[in-house]
């Protein structure tokens, strides 16, 4: 399985992602330091995603959209799924970048001795 530095890098990244996600799990259940909604608005505002929804015609920004639904019962769960989305998408991109084959379109044979 492990054939070179690439694979070790993947392994480290994978373990890192796993560790971070597990560490985040209880914290998310606490609503991210107990003040979850504000935490979420801070992050979404920072990246500018919050408003996008309002502009897309839902006439509510992302935070009020989430809060207005039943999801308010367990916002931590939902925030965690957003967080996991980030982790998993980032790892997918990482895997693709590492595993992408430069020579996917060409096979040159190695010379046998």
């Amino acid at each position: 399985m492990i054939k070179g530095p690439k694979d070790i890098l993947i392994l480290i990244l994978a373990l890192g992602a796993l560790a971070v996600s597990i560490v985040f799990l209880p914290w998310s259940e606490l609503g991210f330091t107990g003040n979850f909604p504000d935490w979420l608005s801070a992050v979404t505002n920072y990246f500018g995603v919050n408003k996008i929804f309002a502009e897309l015609g839902t006439n509510k920004d992302l935070i009020s959209l989430v809060k207005s639904s039943d999801a308010q019962h367990n916002l931590g769960d939902y925030a965690y799924s957003l967080f996991l989305f980030g982790v998993i998408t980032a790892s997918a991109i990482a895997i693709v970048l590492v595993g992408k084959e430069d020579n996917a379109e060409k096979t040159v044979l190695e010379v046998k001795k």
């Binding site: 989430v66 039943d70 019962h73 367990n74 799924s81 998993i88 997918a92 595993g99 992408k100 379109e105």
Partner: protein
């Protein structure tokens, strides 16, 4: 190929129009695939795992469904009896709001269903546009249509299970649609409701259909795969991750909620349409039931027989032939044939070898992979014998 080009001038406008459409659709498909290849190389091109995508979501559905099933209670118990009521709706509420990550799991189950339908369509459209659905592949196509219909129906029963006002409305709409059918209508209605009216038994029936048909999918999938050697059913991990990521994002952005608890005495008449599963209810409310049934049936029938409606677009399949005197029974062709078209049978008496390859003609795609697999020149495509290829190669190489 040349012959079909010549024939086209004699064909009617429908056929010409169709061929033209497929031609353009095919080019667009190829262009999209090329674009993705440039971005992520063929190794991660999801379109090259088109069949594996719905299959992956099926596993997600089984797993998340199992977790929901653990807490789901299929009853419609009366809303007025007690305030510690246990029925389908309250159990779903309980899952959503009280169980850790229950809402997320419910969301994953819902959106995995939607995504599965989406990717089934993508898969079906790709095999259609790239001409991978006819002739020796008809079993895959026809079982595919059955799979699609089953998945749609399973999804709809999922919507009944929540037992909110939408569920009630959908159930009533289904009942009236069934009643409109001649002869089979009444028994179908009785089967659907598990009785004459909506009772607790109705919901257990819905649950049974939902889960039972889901397992029946596995059987139809077996039919779908049976003629394909080594079907590609698992996308690479990176693609899986993205598929899960899509779900998690959707779960967060649009949390799943139930409507009000269904009340048999109420008459709900509006509902939110899930375009992946409930489009036929939308159709139903926009046309007469007769038109609805006729058009639905027609669509299903046309989809099923599409492989036979389209003909003469590519040359006929001329199956591979085994040269009995040369075959050593090594089974290499049998292992490599992509459509399970080769069977190894006992060699005729007096042969030096134990086995003999035979071609199962209706399955053969005329691809020649078996020719590439055979080191003994014992299997050949009649239209392109390898001896001819070899002499063409030699003629050119030696001419210089």
């Amino acid at each position: 190929m040349t012959s079909s080009v010549q024939n086209e001038s004699n064909d009617n406008w429908l056929k010409q129009g169709y061929n033209h459409f497929i031609d353009i659709a095919n080019k667009i498909t190829l262009a999209i695939e090329d674009g993705i290849n440039i971005a992520v190389t063929s190794k991660y091109n999801p379109l090259y795992y088109h069949g594996a995508l719905p299959q992956f979501y099926l596993w997600v559905l089984f797993l998340s469904g199992l977790l929901l099933f653990a807490y789901y209670v299929p009853t419609i118990d009366n809303a007025y009896l007690s305030n510690r009521l246990i029925n389908a709706w309250t159990s779903v509420q309980y899952i959503t709001n009280s169980i850790p990550f229950g809402g997320v799991i419910r969301g994953i189950h819902r959106y995995a269903g939607d995504a599965m339908v989406l990717f089934i369509f993508l898969h079906a459209i790709r095999v259609w546009f790239t001409d991978r659905y006819r002739q020796y592949r008809w079993i895959q196509w026809v079982s595919g249509v059955v799979l699609l219909l089953m998945v749609l129906f399973i999804g709809q029963t999922g919507y009944y299970l929540v037992w909110d006002e939408r569920s009630l409305l959908l159930t009533r709409m289904t009942v009236s649609a069934l009643e409109a059918l001649p002869i089979i209508g009444a028994p179908l209605k009785a089967w659907f409701l598990n009785g004459d009216t909506i009772t607790n038994l109705t919901l257990s029936n819905f649950l049974f259909i939902h889960i039972g048909l889901s397992f029946a999918l596995l059987f139809v999938l077996w039919l779908h795969y049976v003629r394909m050697t080594r079907p590609v059913i698992t996308p690479p991990p990176a693609v899986n991750f993205v598929l899960v990521g899509i779900l998690l994002l959707a779960v967060f952005l649009v949390p799943i909620t139930s409507g009000k608890m269904a009340d048999l005495n109420s008459q709900p008449n509006t509902y939110e349409v899930d375009w992946f599963f409930l489009f036929n209810y939308w159709l139903m409310s926009h046309m007469s039931l007769a038109v609805f049934w006729v058009s639905m049936t027609a669509a299903a029938v046309i989809a099923t027989i599409l492989p036979w409606l389209v003909k003469n677009v590519s040359p006929p399949v001329i199956p591979a032939e085994v040269v009995i005197s040369k075959c050593t029974g090594c089974s290499l062709c049998y292992r490599d044939c992509p459509y399970q078209a080769i069977e190894m049978v006992p060699a005729p008496a007096g042969s030096r070898f134990k086995l003999l390859a035979t071609v199962n003609i209706p399955r053969c795609s005329s691809c020649g992979i078996c020719v590439g697999a055979c080191a003994f020149d014992a299997i050949d495509l009649p239209q392109l014998p390898d001896a001819n290829v070899l002499s063409e190669i030699k003629t050119f190489a030696e001419a210089k």
